[in-house]
Homo-oligomer: 309 residues x 2
């Protein structure tokens, strides 16, 4: 056993963090088998915040001092429960919200201007001398932003440069340049495009309900760059198949990776594999915060970016 | 024979204009066979400006009074030659430049953030628990705009909202918010993304030469929303295959429709079927100008939007 503090990385797609973390700590990787021999030594968990974190596991780690989320979101973690055990949670806020907003704009353009579909069609011989695809202009399209946090504001700013008319809804009033709808249902009714950009927690699961999807309607486009659990995905698929919803452009899903078979016969979709916030620059920033929070916690120093709510 | 003035539509993909034009005029359609019986009656040609217009045909139409371009561009028409014959040319300026700019931004996002590729990959099972696609942030990417006309300026404005650093080049200095490079080669050398947004004519065919493509380089992205003839397409394909150019995102091609086989083994491309300016709103605006110019010419009134250069 090393005398360096021991960490446990929980999710397999975080494996690329290993060499960076090994420069200072002893690293265990959960998917290689629970580290029974190191159970008493693990002092921090490194997690992706969108995955449910197993409380039973935490209870079996007596030396645990920190839950360190690599991500900005931490919806998979019961922060109150951790707090009650004296276990702090850190995350990586303010690093990738503009990249996520860029991705949302890319999804809107790809869906409305039929870019992903045009690319597929051209490659398979769909462009002929007498075919002409006409798409809707973005000008004047009414964009409804669900959640005007850092991501939502960055989306709204970009949408204005693209001549869209922005409004928003969130549970709390806040000062902003854009009008707040009276309710989420009102926002959906008065929007051509609805972008989900809010934080997910146990209270807003299924926020984009069948009623909201119906209100967005046959010409409407639903975009989700937040969390899959915010959308009733079965209702979404049903509405797309029947034409009661026009289009969907998704970067996040109820289960990730999502099963491609689930989408095979669902029309009018653009689907990306949760890449919205994963830019080279953002990942470097998130890694930096992760390393700083781990160093601080294990040296009993103040945490750099603790979860505050 | 009708006593209404006769028009001839040249390109098959303009066929949807027929019912609108037939509301006022007798309409012939070139692809249904040259209208030999109406040769002496044709008073206007309705054309898409990107296709070469046959001078021999024009010489065989003694009653011709107008070449009416449905499009903004008119690079297929020898305007000087027409002028020398006393034959005016009209087009549809200022209608779709912002839609073309939106499309250029959509192509940049789709290429850089791998949206079209991510969509293809997800649908074919490429998203697995240990895969994680990391893409470059748009933040700080240096965007070089070739041609700072209406389209180029609209692209530049949008790029700033996406945190890119804009510069440009064109043959003539003009007042603008962005620095002009000393030459096109300098612009390519100092850009991460080069967007072709200039007018095409006989003097700038192949403007994006092998040297310019090399200067943009292995990390560079070439975007073309202007005309295919502006890019040396064979050199572009060769550079993409060998990795000397990073990516290309194209809406226009040397030949249209482009042959999909030409692109089958060319990596790192996003390809759309010349849909950049073809929005519902723009097409309505272009149709309006077309009808106004036809009415004016056939009533010997001043033209609404004649080609002026």
């Amino acid at each position: 056993m090393s005398d360096r503090p021991a960490l446990l990385i929980m999710q397999r797609h975080l494996a690329p963090l290993t060499p960076f973390l090994e420069s200072q700590w002893t690293v265990y990787r959960f998917w290689e088998g629970p580290p029974v021999e190191a159970q008493a030594d693990i002092r921090a968990l490194v997690v992706a915040g969108e995955f449910p974190l197993d409380k039973t596991l935490i209870e079996q780690l007596p030396a645990l001092e920190l839950i360190a989320c690599f991500t900005s979101g931490y919806d998979g973690i019961d922060v109150d429960w951790c707090r009650a055990r004296g276990l702090p949670v850190t995350h990586a806020p303010g690093v990738n919200h503009e990249d996520v907003a860029d991705h949302a704009i890319g999804l809107i353009l790809s869906a409305r201007r039929r870019i992903a579909e045009g690319d597929r069609s051209l490659r398979t011989g769909g462009w002929t001398p007498d075919s002409k695809v006409i798409t809707p202009s973005l000008k004047g399209q009414r964009l409804g932003v669900v959640g005007l946090g850092a991501i939502g504001q960055a989306i709204a700013t970009r949408a204005e440069a693209l001549r869209m008319a922005v409004s928003w809804w969130g549970p709390r009033e806040k000062a902003s340049d854009w009008p707040r709808a009276a309710s989420l249902l009102d926002l959906a009714r008065s929007s051509d495009i609805l972008v989900v950009a809010c934080k997910a927690d146990e209270n807003n699961r299924g926020l984009i309900s069948p009623e909201i999807i119906e209100a967005l309607g046959p010409q409407g486009l639903l975009v989700n760059v937040a969390r899959g659990q915010l959308v009733d995905e079965a209702a979404l698929i049903d509405a797309l198949k029947s034409g009661r919803l026009g289009q969907a452009a998704l970067d996040v899903y109820e289960d990730e990776p999502t099963d491609p078979a689930r989408w095979a016969d669902v029309p009018n979709t653009v689907l990306t594999p949760h890449t919205g916030g994963a830019t080279t620059e953002a990942v470097q920033g998130m890694l930096g915060l992760l390393m700083q929070n781990l160093s601080a916690a294990l040296a009993k120093q103040p945490l750099v970016t603790p979860v505050r709510d």
